[in-house]
Symmetry: C2
C-alpha cells in the first residue's frame, strides 16, 4: 500500500504490457476504488465493464484501432485487462462523474503494482451498432456514453519519469 | 500521510466549513497533486486559480449563487479557499483533463486533513463578462472553460458515511 502522494507523483501511463493476467484480488480492489469516486449528488451515473475475456478484449481493440484508422494495431498495448467506464448521458454531470472513476482506477492500479493507461475512443466505440450490441447483451439499458478505457497489466517497460509541469499551471490570488 | 485506498474510501464532500485559513504548506501539496494528474499526451491543458483572497472568494461565491438563482446564498459553504480548475477548450480532451485535476485535488485535501467539495457552475461563471475579466486581469489568454471549484477548509461537520454503492456498478466479462 502506497501513500496517496506517492501514487499521484509516481503513476505514469504505461504503453507496453506483459501478457500475464492481473490477480483477481488486485482487480477487485481497483474496481472498488473506481466505484468510490465522487459523483454529483452521489448519483453514481457511471458503470464499469471489467473485461478479462480475451475474445472481448481483442474485439474492442480491433474496434478501437478501426476508429483510429489503424486497423491491425493494438491500441491497448498488449494489456490483458480492459476496464471501460461509461456514464449515463441523460444526467448533466455524466462526463465529470465518469472521468473521476477513471482517475481512481489509474491511481489504484499503481498502488497494486500494475501499469495502466487511459485509452480514448470509448465514446465512438459504444456509439457504433457493434458497441450498442455489447451493452444490450449485458442487459445494460439506457443511454450510456463511453468515457474511457483503463487498460491494466504488468508493465513491459521501465516506469517513465514525469515530464516537467508547465509554467503558470497555478495562479495564486492572495 | 494516508494510504491511497484510505483517501479514496474515506473522502467525502463537506458542506460546512470553519473560517480558519488553510496552511500554506497543505495548500501547496494539494496544488502539486492537481498538477500531476494525467492529461492526454501530457498536454497539461488545465490551469488552477488558487484563491485565498477573501474579496475574490466572495465575488465568485456571489456570481455562483446568482447563476444558481439563489442570490445571497454562499454556494462555497463558508470555505475560506477556492481552487478553480479551468481547461483549454481548444484541445479535444480538455474536459477529461480538467476533471482528473479536480479528482487529485479532492483526494489530496483529505490526505492533508481538510474537507473539500466539488462545486459546479464554473463553466457559466467564466463564460460571463465578469468571469472573463478576472482571467484577463490575471494575464490568462486563450479559450478556457471552467471545469469546477474545489472548495477547501476545515470541516464544521462530522465526516458523513459513504452511501451504499449501486447494484450493477461493475459488469464482469470473464
Amino acid at each position: 500500500m502506497s501513500s496517496l502522494m506517492e501514487c499521484i507523483l509516481k503513476r505514469r501511463s504505461i504503453r507496453a504490457y506483459k501478457p500475464d493476467m492481473v490477480p483477481q484480488e488486485a482487480l477487485e480492489t481497483i474496481l472498488k476504488a473506481g466505484t468510490y469516486a465522487p459523483t454529483a449528488n452521489d448519483r453514481q451515473t457511471p458503470i464499469i465493464l471489467a473485461i478479462t475475456n480475451k475474445e472481448m478484449r481483442d474485439k474492442l481493440s480491433a474496434m478501437n484501432a478501426k476508429i483510429m484508422g489503424k486497423e491491425g494495431d493494438d491500441p491497448f498495448y498488449g494489456a490483458p485487462v480492459v476496464l471501460v467506464v461509461l456514464a449515463d448521458k441523460t444526467k448533466s454531470t455524466y462526463l465529470y462523474d465518469g472521468t473521476l472513476v477513471m482517475g481512481n482506477l489509474m491511481l489504484a492500479a499503481y498502488d497494486q503494482g500494475l501499469g495502466s493507461c487511459w485509452v480514448h475512443r470509448a465514446k465512438e466505440e459504444f456509439e457504433s451498432e457493434e458497441g450498442k450490441a455489447i451493452l444490450r447483451e449485458l442487459g445494460i439499458e439506457g443511454d450510456y456514453e463511453g468515457i474511457g478505457h483503463c487498460v491494466l497489466g504488468y508493465p513491459a517497460q521501465d516506469l517513465p519519469e514525469a515530464g516537467p509541469r508547465k509554467d503558470n499551471y497555478v495562479y495564486y490570488i492572495k
